[in-house]
């Protein structure tokens, strides 16, 4: 018998502009002990299916069809009956560990609440069980940590707490909605190991919602691929990932950037010899003062030479974005020097500094937040011209904006639209157009595609690369995604806790890393091939001294 049975599920959201169907005619099953991965791009309806299974759809949603969890119908069930189901028969792990926990309640108490929701256990016993659960999910010093507030834990630890809450009553179904998307790869690997172990121990069925094919290969037994609210392909993980039958699945898998693990045909190229466009020398950055000061960068030296792309990688908090901001002149180093196009940025003031900085374009991660919603696309793109090319007539400006929009392969008449009317990929191209409108010699791209779906990511990266060939700008490319960096950068710098761990040509560094840290970082990246990933996982665990 299946622990989760979904038959002909349809979900419609009522909005101000009418009903919007989000999920159509979806049928799925999860058997005990089995992991079904539900994959698809944003807006495909995969999270909606997960929420429907928990009876957690928002009030504006209407569900039809049948959803049975452990034999109980969920659709149309009373809230009290659903509360009896949630956290006991079925439980859920969410995407964003930063906000998933009540900030004002100690974590032990939050876990104990889930226990006491379903079992008449005295408070003291529930607290003891909570400590035991914290130990099981790998929180160090659980007796002490149970009294911690969420803000006192790291993102990975918070996710472990959410998992502890989810397994508190040994559910038969665990629904995990992008459980590792907000985490670093090394933490992601640990969390996936943890979930896999817990599911295997107790025969729990898992519904894993994710967009990451590497995670699917690492974890799932079966896969269902969703597109625009419908399931287009279902099958065992090896079949779907290695021999997809559906066109869309094939395209999706092709777009996934893959970490290549074998030597590329062409060896490492030499770096250009010209004078670097940006040169950070022994740069340190400290935030805050006194004992609470944080050393974000500690003696970092790096250069980007004309025409080349330098990848800056590292885990969150490693200082990669800070280094990019130093290059942009947004953060002043507390020690060391920054030279831009051969001139000392720290000494340049006023007009000279502005002139230097006008040679740098920037693209940031969040395409929604980085464009002013009150300005039209044309105004957004024209703004650098208004700041740095004051003599330009508005007709010239309009012409330049139209040209640069065409350059990033957007229609010229898009200039009159608002950023909100555009898709994520289009918005990021507008950001790119704005960055390139001054014809910069350096482009700083901080996680430019991390918020985008893989297919969109690929097209944006292609545009950047083609324009780089055409216009010859250098690029400082910040990313947590090693596969993207491997495809995109010629030189890579690995940061760890504000220091450079190692650097070298991408071809050698990412294939034959010299340091343990880089090796661990690479080993933790899941590859979208279940057979290969299983081997990599065993190797990684063996290297860490864990039995497979």
């Amino acid at each position: 018998m299946s622990i989760l049975e979904i038959e002909n599920l349809g979900v419609t959201f009522s909005t101000e502009t009418g009903d919007v169907p989000a999920v159509r005619d979806v049928s799925l099953r999860v058997r005990p002990g089995e992991t079904l991965a539900l994959v698809g791009e944003s807006g495909s309806g995969k999270s909606t299916v997960a929420l429907a299974a928990m009876g957690l759809l928002p009030g504006s949603a209407r569900a039809t069809g049948r959803v049975r969890v452990g034999g109980t119908d969920v659709i149309g069930a009373a809230e009290a009956d659903l509360a009896g189901l949630r956290g006991r028969t079925a439980s859920m792990v969410f995407q964003e560990p930063a906000t998933a926990l009540d900030p004002l309640t100690r974590i032990g108490a939050q876990i104990a609440e889930v226990i006491r929701n379903h079992r008449p256990v005295p408070v003291k016993d529930a607290a003891r069980e909570a400590v035991e659960l914290l130990r099981r999910v790998g929180i160090p010093e659980p007796e002490r940590r149970a009294f911690a507030y969420p803000f006192q834990l790291s993102g990975g630890q918070r996710q472990r707490v959410v998992i502890a809450m989810a397994i508190a009553n040994a559910p038969s179904l665990l629904i995990a909605d992008e459980p590792t998307t907000a985490l670093d790869v090394t933490v992601q690997a640990e969390i996936l190991d943890l979930l896999r172990g817990l599911a295997a121990d107790s025969g729990t069925g898992v519904l894993l919602v994710t967009h990451n094919m590497g995670v699917v290969a690492d974890f799932a037994d079966r896969v269902a691929v969703m597109l625009q609210g419908e399931v287009v392909e279902t099958g065992p993980v090896e079949e779907v990932l290695l021999r997809p039958t559906d066109d869309y699945t094939r395209r999706l898998l092709e777009a996934v950037p893959r970490l290549s693990l074998a030597d590329p045909p062409s060896g490492a190229r030499d770096r250009p010899v010209e004078e670097p466009v940006v040169d950070l020398r022994e740069v340190s950055v400290r935030f805050g003062r006194g004992r609470r000061a944080v050393r974000a960068l500690d003696g970092v030296s790096l250069t980007v030479r004309p025409g080349e792309t330098v990848g800056l990688v590292g885990e969150s908090g490693s200082g990669k974005s800070t280094a990019a901001r130093v290059a942009l002149g947004l953060v002043a180093p507390s020690a060391g020097s920054v030279s831009l196009f051969g001139a000392d940025l720290g000494r340049a003031g006023g007009r000279a500094r502005r002139a230097l900085l006008s040679g740098v374009g920037v693209v940031l991660q969040d395409p929604v937040a980085s464009l002013d919603a009150r300005m039209s696309v044309g105004e957004c793109v024209a703004e650098p011209l208004r700041v740095h090319r004051r003599g330009m007539s508005s007709a010239e400006r309009r012409a330049r904006v139209a040209d640069v929009l065409e350059l990033v392969r957007l229609p010229r008449d898009l200039a009159h639209r608002g950023p909100r009317e555009l898709s994520g990929g289009q918005r990021q191209r507008v950001s790119l157009a704005r960055a390139l409108v001054l014809r910069p010699r350096l482009l700083v791209a901080d996680e430019p595609t991390s918020a985008l779906d893989v297919s969109v990511q690929r097209s944006v990266l292609e545009v950047i690369r083609e324009l780089q060939d055409e216009l010859g700008f250098a690029c400082l490319f910040v990313s947590h995604d090693l596969a993207v960096v491997q495809q995109f950068a010629q030189h890579v710098v690995v940061l760890r806790a504000g220091r450079i761990e190692e650097e070298g040509s991408t071809a050698t560094t990412l294939l034959h890393p010299r340091t343990d840290y880089t090796r661990r970082l690479i080993a933790a990246v899941p590859v979208p091939d279940p057979v290969l990933q299983r081997r990599r996982r065993d190797e990684r665990r063996a290297a860490m001294g864990v039995k497979a």
Binding site: L56, R86, L104, V162
Partner: protein, 319 residues
């Protein structure tokens, strides 16, 4: 941060703020036309009489000297002598302050006790009849001037329905005031009305925001019912911004007391301030302003301390 260190630092900061307030008020008062001598001695006083008065009161010296002189006596607990009432200002404040405190603290407590649950109720019943009705009443209560509301209260509850006396409790001691709880009802209601209106709006907004937070979904997914979600989680989280607002609301409460005391003939700080302002009684005005600014600073300090207790992130400097 260590709580003791934090408190020490905050108290020192507060003292600096109060000092600045005294400077500002001192300068403002001396910038008023006419000066106090004309106000005290009346339009018939001769120039000689005014000069003599100014000399006796030290008003002919330079402003900084006058200010330092004022500050020195202040440190001795001496706020000067009222020009018109012929009594020590400290003595006047000593008599009046407890009464005003009774009025404002009761108003604040009653106001909050109503506002918090009302705001939460509205949030839970968002965009339903209850929400609309309370929202409308809130706007009416907020936009009605206190003196008008007070008059309506007096008319309805002393004339049409003779339930309460129209005068606030009389008497010089706190005991005498508290012995007439019946007479306190209308003044407290008048003082609390706008507070209920304002704080139920804050609470409604804060509750709505928290209800849509991710953690609520996590708690629901753990099988907690709506009641547990609301009282165990959303309530505390919504309270923090409201508590922060409370400190800034102290001067508003004192401002309200000014009107309420007039209306109900309740001899507290408000009435004292009013008559002192009318007769340019500088020492009393300065004393009152000082007391109100101290109350505001203390209120803000208390709000911050309470917030540190409710929200552990504040203590760690993370929020």
């Amino acid at each position: 941060m260590d709580t003791f260190l934090y408190l020490t630092r905050r108290v020192l900061q507060s003292l600096v703020v109060i000092l600045i307030v005294t400077v500002v008020v001192f300068c403002l008062l001396h910038a008023l036309p006419g000066g106090p001598a004309r106000g005290i001695l009346g339009p018939q006083a001769t120039a000689q009489q005014i000069a003599q008065f100014n000399h006796e009161q030290g008003l002919d010296r330079s402003l900084p000297v006058q200010y330092l002189y004022y500050l020195r006596t202040l440190l001795h607990g001496d706020l000067g002598t009222s020009y018109t009432l012929n009594e020590a200002v400290s003595r006047l404040i000593e008599q009046r302050l407890p009464k005003t405190l009774v009025l404002t603290v009761l108003s604040a407590l009653v106001g909050l006790a109503l506002a918090v649950p009302l705001g939460m109720w509205q949030a839970v019943r968002r965009n339903r009849p209850v929400d609309y009705v309370i929202t409308t009443l809130s706007f009416v209560a907020y936009s009605t001037p206190v003196y008008f509301l007070g008059l309506v209260l007096v008319l309805v509850f002393t004339q049409l329905l003779p339930w309460f006396p129209s005068q606030a409790p009389q008497g010089d001691t706190l005991g005498q005031v508290l012995a007439q709880p019946n007479a306190l009802v209308l003044p407290v209601v008048a003082g609390a009305a706008s507070m209920v209106a304002v704080f139920s709006r804050y609470m409604r907004a804060a509750t709505l925001e928290n209800l849509s937070e991710d953690y609520v979904r996590t708690v629901r997914a753990g099988g907690s019912g709506p009641r547990a979600i609301l009282w165990r989680h959303v309530f505390r989280n919504s309270l923090t911004p409201v508590v922060a607002m409370l400190g800034y609301y102290v001067p508003v409460l004192f401002g309200g007391a000014l009107v309420v005391e007039q209306l109900f003939n309740y001899p507290g700080m408000g009435l004292l301030f009013w008559s002192a302002a009318q007769s340019s009684d500088y020492p009393v005005l300065l004393g009152c302003v000082l007391v109100i600014s101290v109350a505001t600073v203390v209120g803000t300090l208390l709000a911050d301390v309470v917030q540190r207790i409710i929200d552990p992130r504040v203590k760690a400097g993370r929020a």
